[in-house]
Symmetry: C2
DNA sequence: TACCGGATATAACATATGTTAATCGGAATT
DNA sequence: AATTCCGATTAACATATGTTATATCCGGTA
């Protein structure tokens, strides 16, 4: 990267804002068009059904970009909420277009981010469509664990999990009760240990076998 | 659009190829990096689990772009197959980067395509995660029907459906038998009529209510 | 310390969906 | 016309998951 590119990238992150846990900083139907870079904390992207039920589509971890592909003619088609205290860089999406025009290196970085988001959302569809409940949990844990590893926020076999079981349920398309049952099963069979806001993945290989997780798919997106 | 832009767009479609039904023209793990514009026919994007089961992620209809976000460092993370005879324009993805640099109007069109693909894949996740089987079917039918309408390939209440029930099952995360049961139920309750490779949506409002489908979400992507 | 409220856990039961197997139908082929 | 094959259909049964209700745990707060 040239100095100019580095300067531009840093300039994007000038305007930061803090968001408290539980606050929706993007709301489905919003006209406001903003791109966010997640500097610190975890966020979730979700949609709401007409009867109030939720489906969480994906989690955003530090370094992830939210709202990369603003459609200027449309409203936000999902909501985003802070799972813990966030630090967000607020970016005018027009600057994203500017990147594509002026900074080819950065542009290919954006393209990389998009490909990655697609892969993650595709994996989510596979979890929801083809895995039984326990495997869905294991698969999600492995995905988050590997993503944290890629941004060097991992901590051995421990996985930070700043979310309630009801959030896991809304992610995995399960009921709260069944989510709880399955976590208990995983615990009883020694595959995970549960602590407050954290779990420990005791046997990665067994979890991988159980969930048909493919570590290679995310590894392609290492830096 | 300027003449130059129109010329460039047409130039992209110079190199076309025909693909027979059932042929995989992108295979998961491939190193080959190509972008396709679907000129004619239907395609499906899918991944395969280690035990051979499939999850179809999305359908591509005429006008859709496949492989817009090639990650030059990675392999294809899904496969794509022709549902009927296809006509594909084969595009070097470097020309996509070129669009972003030189043709801002076209670039915003690409961004629009990406936002649309995200919305469609997000809707697929909602179907899989939060809708019961019959509603999943209705929701998918409505999505395809609306998408066909947007490209003026609709035909009244009739919906072309160039796929087997096992393809629907692999799309909706259901077993073949249950898919068949639910189609029968929809038929018996008069919501749809089934014919060879087509169904007729007899009562759009009832289908919308059944599946919590939101016509607005796709309408945002009308042309 | 006692209380409160949210989150987690467990149980009993209801329902949706999966599995296996058998049958049926129609289009292509002999 | 008979055969074959593939997809659609149906039935009987097994299993996973949802629902409702209640109990327990735990951190915050009066």
């Amino acid at each position: 990267m040239s100095e100019e590119e580095i300067d531009f990238l840093e300039g994007l992150q000038n305007n930061t804002v803090e968001v408290q846990a539980g606050v929706d900083f993007v709301v489905e139907g919003d006209d406001r068009k903003t791109t966010f870079i997640l500097i610190d904390g975890w966020a979730s992207r979700y949609t709401t059904l007409s009867d109030g039920r939720r489906q969480i589509l994906s989690f955003a971890l530090p370094g992830d970009i939210l709202g990369l592909h603003i459609n200027f003619n449309a409203q936000a088609h999902y909501s985003a909420t802070a799972m813990n205290t966030l630090k967000l860089a607020v970016v005018d999406p027009r600057r994203i277009l500017e990147i594509n025009q002026k900074f080819p290196i950065l542009a290919s970085g954006l393209s990389w981010c998009t490909a990655r988001e697609f892969a993650i959302l595709g994996d989510q569809a596979v979890r929801l469509g083809r895995l039984p409940a326990k495997a869905r949990l294991a698969h999600l844990f492995l995905e988050l664990w590997h993503r944290l590893e890629l941004i060097r926020e991992n901590n051995g076999k421990w996985l930070a999990l700043p979310m309630k079981q009801s959030d896991l349920a809304d992610t995995l398309g399960l009921s709260l009760v069944h989510t709880n049952r399955c976590i208990g099963d995983l615990r009883k069979s020694g595959l995970i240990t549960v602590a407050k806001d954290h779990i420990k993945l005791e046997d990665l290989d067994a979890l991988i076998r159980l969930s048909d997780f493919d570590p290679e798919r995310l590894a392609e997106f290492s830096i």
